[in-house]
Amino acid sequence: METGALIAVLAVLIPVVGGPFCYLVEKISPKARTAYAVTLGFITAGLTLSLLHYIGEGDADSFLWIPGLDVSIGISLDSLSVFVAIVAGCVGALALLYSTRYMAHAAREYSLSRYYWQVLLFIGGMIGLALASNLLIMYVFWEIIGFCSYALISYYYRDPEAVPAGTKAFIVTRIGDIGFLVGVLALWHGAGSLNVFEVIDAASAGEISSTYLTLAGAGFIAGAVGKSAQFPLHVWLPDAMVAPTTISSLIHAACLVNAGVYLLGRSYPIFLGLDWWPTVVVWIGAITALLGATIALTQWDIKRVLAYSTISQLGYMVAAIGAGALMASQYHLISHGVFKALLFLCAGAIIHQTGTKDMREMGGLAKGMKITHICTIYGLLSLVGIPVWVGGFSKDLILENMVDKGTYGPLVLLIMAAFVTAAYSWRMYWLTFQGRRRTEVVVHEAPWQMWAPLLVLAEGAAALWFITSEYTSSMVRSLPGYDVAHIALKELAHDVFSSPVIWVTLAVIVFVVILALKWRTNIIGAFQQPNRITLAPMRAYWFDIFYNRVILRGLLSFWGTFRKVQTGDLNYNNLGIAAGFVIVFVLLFVWGI
């Protein structure tokens, strides 16, 4: 086996197989278990980083898995997959280090071994999803991370909100997953292969019939919409905030929501033949970006603000893919991974110190928590999109690409979303760190296990754009079938500072200054009571209410008519299974196998 492929396999197997041994190591001592889990995390991060040397085109290696069916496990080490794996591995390792202190309080009531092995499985699953080039294997890893998100969101299972939130995340993403599975099967049938590169070749040669291609295109959009929390399936992500903050940072930055954007990016060349596909994707993204940003503006829970902000930023990435700016979207995915992990871990430090998630009970924390304060500013500046911080470059690249491609309708929505992003970022900053102290608790800086990851991520948020040239050149080198272009650092500066997009950035800066001057004094009063304009975003545009009252109630009343069938007696259920088996058997004989 080639070295690169071997490293890739190890990067998946070490966290996935090593994770459950946490239970054994716990028998030695809980401390040893924690050290073991963090070590595994850092080994994985190191392995993913070392994959940088092996970036190359197509499949690095492939093994035949099921000989008769021609299902092989391919490992692709191109720039698209390796960077997603690196984000998962590195952010995951930092989150694990952070967990050592942040989760310590949970040890009395909940099993920390369960926490650590699930986090490791989560990281390994995401790396596997990124590095696999076989669609079926991708689907398997897709389900693994789905399970991990469900289990980790419900980690505090005695909390009455946690279990429904986990279930909701599972069910809502499941709707998308079914679409993804249908898409995979349609492509398998249409192209005769499961390898994504062979499918791309078949699609560009026009060998896939348009029915299968349409089915697969719709299915992949559904999968990405579910997993990446896009409109209209975004409702699970805010509720997932009952999870421990480290899990939120993993879900939002490293592991889960990136999967959908990555899938769209990976499968983008397959669906070039469908003329409706990019339009649908770009509008879904743009609507989500504005929707998420406006809701984020009205929230009081610091984690919910960040959750809606993630939804909005994912909207940018999806819109970029729809506009054909594949590279900009993947670049934003990486930069968002870094700064959103940073923001979540900062929020975790704040919650750890103040003991509340409600921003109304914070305020004036800047004096007590200097490191967290600086790191949050870095994260927020990156989120707002000020160039110099990496988020600025990636977001401007998306907007610039959309100006070039002439997709003006979605562009307007994205620019509006950029202003709202600035507003909620500033509001979050002011409510937590500045203004009058509204808490009795005396806050201190968090312990080093918590601020060290913050510093690393803050460095990343500030300086990651240095690698732009190498990143784009590796993309061009390893992705011949995709529409990517090399951008040197100089061109990046040119793209960002002398294109029309710079006016948006300048206007956003002016807007923040105006907000800082005008809104400072009465910020606590805004959004307390809904008025005519703010009612819709404060109620999250009634999505949950609609789903609960219309769809769920309809489904329940329909299936409720079958309640009598459910006797609770196992023998009856078995009889039903046997009867179903016989019916299927008879049908097979009647139709001829």
Partner: protein, 101 residues
Amino acid sequence: MDLWQFFMAAVFILIGIGIYCLIARRNIIQLIIGLEVIAKGVTLSFILGGYVLNNEQIAQAIVITVILIEVITAAVAMSLIVVARRNTGSLDIKDLKRLWG
């Protein structure tokens, strides 16, 4: 009559016994045994399919997977039975009947 037809009959007999066991028995451990008998029948049917279609490789791959899944099912079921026994003090499924509609 060919050899494979005997095996086909064996498959049907095994699955039939298993299903009868699942429907008629009330002891959970007996239910698990019924489940295992069905799984044996299914395994045999895969071998048979490989033999008839002259595709032993894939049959072998699937049979190994099925055996693995069987073991996992049995292990998980046994652990659940232990918990159920501890909580209810009984192995009769009528005593575990809480999920009626």
